[in-house]
Amino acid sequence: MLSTGAAVTTKLSSQHDHNHEHQAVPSDVALRVKALESLLVEKGLVDPAALDALIDAYEHKVGPHNGARVIARAWVDPAYKTRLLADGTNAIAEFGYGGQQGEHMVVVENGPKVHNLVVCTLCSCYPWSVLGLPPVWYKSAAYRSRAVIDPRGVLREFGLDLPEDVEVRVWDSTAELRYLVLPERPAGSENLAEDELAALVTRDAMVGVAKVVAPRLENKHERHT
């Protein structure tokens, strides 16, 4: 365990390195977090083994592969798709996914003339149970600020240039509903099995900043993530 007695309350603002590079020496924030963990463990407020279990869950168990299975099922099973769009929470629970930041799920469907995009302008709400923890760009000021006022510009930065006749629907996650985009099944995927389809579905497609591309078409499209 760590040495104790380091102050936790130092303000971060004046001492932080902001470029997200990996650092050779511990940053001040790293020391502060160590001091906080040490204090909370010593006081019996948190169990270090529980911390390890929480980290393991989100690093190794929960992630976009969950959502991808849901999407692939919806593509091959019309009855499942109907359930998924009518009651996302219960349909997703059929896979055993739910709970923390997936308590109340809404699934929105993309089509040839409709494209859905998910954001949380006020913080960084995200459907953890099906996508895992959000990427840095989803939590960034750039994305949070512009997704609602300039969704087409944001999508172009992701390499997706939508024609004017496609209706863009932006979902701002202002309450406890969490949104998952059901992307269009790509042309050329007709002969793929459900698990092969799941392997095509990306996190970005389920947030709505990308489309799903079939394997033989993949090389023709520039992928940005």
Partner: protein
């Protein structure tokens, strides 16, 4: 609160920067910060709304400078002190107060899967009369609460249409301040992009927001 966190519609924040093959956490301290907040939350001394509001209270310049998990740690530190789990002196010394009893953590490793699976639903199984119904025209109230709210500035005063009724949920404007849950209906409300942003917006685009009854008035 008209704070920096309410970013929808701001401009000049730069391009969206994606990272290829991004790891779940970038540093060990991010891992620990994430887990500390969840584990400390298991004491149920605060709720999600209070936790969000605590991060909104970070000074605007600091908020913009900080990374996501730094805000978590900043918010967590304040919540621990505010709710009395840790004293200010303990935070400053980094050591438990001499003679203070050692607590038993509510969340142990064996309970983690069940706790994550259960989550903390914000819906409430109570009868509350909805004030609006699907298809109805509404206006988002032009209100500027100084506390926590989930009504973004960019939608205030704007006209929209009720898309659907999600059911009854805890009302964050009260819950964040430990003033009770005031459960009420939440609706998905559709605003045309042109109603929100004027003629510069694409003619058929729209933004959907989830809004509590108290945020809306008939139009």
């Amino acid at each position: 609160m008209n704070g920096i966190h309410d970013m929808g519609g701001m401009q000049d924040m730069g391009p969206v920067q994606m990272e290829k093959n991004e790891p779940v956490f970038h540093t060990p301290w991010e891992r620990r910060s994430f887990a500390l907040r969840l584990a400390a939350g298991a004491w149920r001394k605060w709720n999600m709304d209070a936790s969000r509001h605590q991060m909104e209270l970070i000074a605007p310049a600091d908020y913009l400078r900080m990374s996501y998990y730094e805000r978590w740690i900043e918010g967590l530190t304040e919540l621990l002190v505010k709710t009395g789990l840790v004293t200010r002196e303990e935070m400053e010394s980094g050591k438990p107060a001499p003679g203070s009893p050692k607590a038993t953590p509510p969340l142990t490793a064996d309970k983690v899967p069940a706790v994550l699976r259960a989550g903390r639903p914000a819906s409430r199984d109570v009868e509350v009369t909805p004030h609006f119904k699907a298809g109805q025209r509404v206006r988002a109230r032009n209100i500027h609460p100084t506390g926590h709210t989930r009504l973004p500035r960019y939608a205030r005063g704007k006209f929209g249409t009720i898309h659907l009724d999600h059911g009854v949920y805890v009302f964050p404007d009260r819950n964040a301040h430990f003033l009770g849950e005031k459960p009420q209906h939440v609706y998905s409300v559709r605003f045309t992009a042109r109603e929100l942003w004027g003629e510069q917006a694409a003619p058929h685009d729209s933004v959907y927001l989830d809004m509590w009854d108290d945020y809306l008035e008939p139009a």
